[in-house]
Symmetry: C2
DNA sequence: CTTGCGGATTAGACTCATTCTAACTGATTA
DNA sequence: TAATCAGTTAGAATGAGTCTAATCCGCAAG
């Protein structure tokens, strides 16, 4: 069910944590593994449930801590929709999110550089943006599977 | 401080509420007035404080109810940023939001139709979006005053 | 070894925006 | 007048997220 990390993924984890002076711990590895295993934008609670299967003693607080750490060192992105629980996404490429009204599922939508650029261009002078979040809300025909 | 509604604004309120079978009440009028008087994307609590000056008996629950009603009949938009308190915005033209890291203030950014169109175009077939939310996060040079 | 240190983890208490509930109000209808 | 019904109200309940204080664990110094 939940595979171990590949060499590559473990290196990515190690490098990102190392850069911000933090260590790879079993808990962090477990949480990261869970994120990569099923790229469906899980909530903290879902991550918690899944990680528990692998590491039963893991606490919710630690899941919060791990995810915060990952966000801090750029390993994962937070996805917020309205005021629902925050979700987490290990896709680092620039992308938008599509929230399916019917299922609640979140799909990643690739964001071509030229669209990103045209978006940036609408900012009046003096506004300097580091982060742009784009989210769609609507219906996806069932069968659509942008699992990422 | 808080002006009364103009004829035009009162009509807008009446029409929007009427369309969804609801009435203009003193509380709703007060809340709407507050929203129009200071277009700084107030939180529920801020609306509550301001409306109280005009209608001291007003309850927080009612402010929640009024705002929900307004959103439901398309009179105002909700603005969410990360997991902070929801803010409200009576600007109905399509626009993005810019959240100033330093001050926490939210500015409206005009959204040209062609940019909106290019955004829609990135959706794969089968995805049909009703709402698009775009929010920037960064720094605005002090002095920038997009109060809307 | 064993001691001490510091970051990581843990359980549980706490916060606070929002939602829910049940009682009340006041206008309108029967 | 009584019944009805949307709207309002105060306060309780919810629940995601944060904080706190105690514990754990790996490691470097003695």
């Amino acid at each position: 069910m939940i595979q171990n990390l590949t060499e590559h993924d473990r290196e990515q984890l190690q490098e990102a944590l190392g850069k911000s002076g933090q260590k790879v711990t079993p808990q962090r590895e477990a949480v990261f593994t869970v994120l990569l295993a099923q790229r469906d934008h899980p909530t903290v609670d879902e991550v918690f449930q899944r990680a528990r299967e692998v590491m039963p003693g893991l606490s919710l607080a630690t899941v919060y801590n791990c995810l915060e750490t990952f966000v801090g060192c750029g390993l994962v992105r937070q996805v917020n929709h309205e005021r629902e629980s925050t979700r987490y996404c290990p896709n680092l490429a620039p992308h938008a999110h599509f929230r399916d009204k019917a299922t609640g599922r979140v799909h990643d939508i690739e964001l071509p550089p030229e669209v990103l650029k045209s978006l940036r261009s609408i900012l009046p002078p003096g506004f300097d943006s580091e982060v742009i979040e784009i989210s769609f809300h609507g219906r996806a025909q069932s069968g659509e599977q942008t699992s990422n």
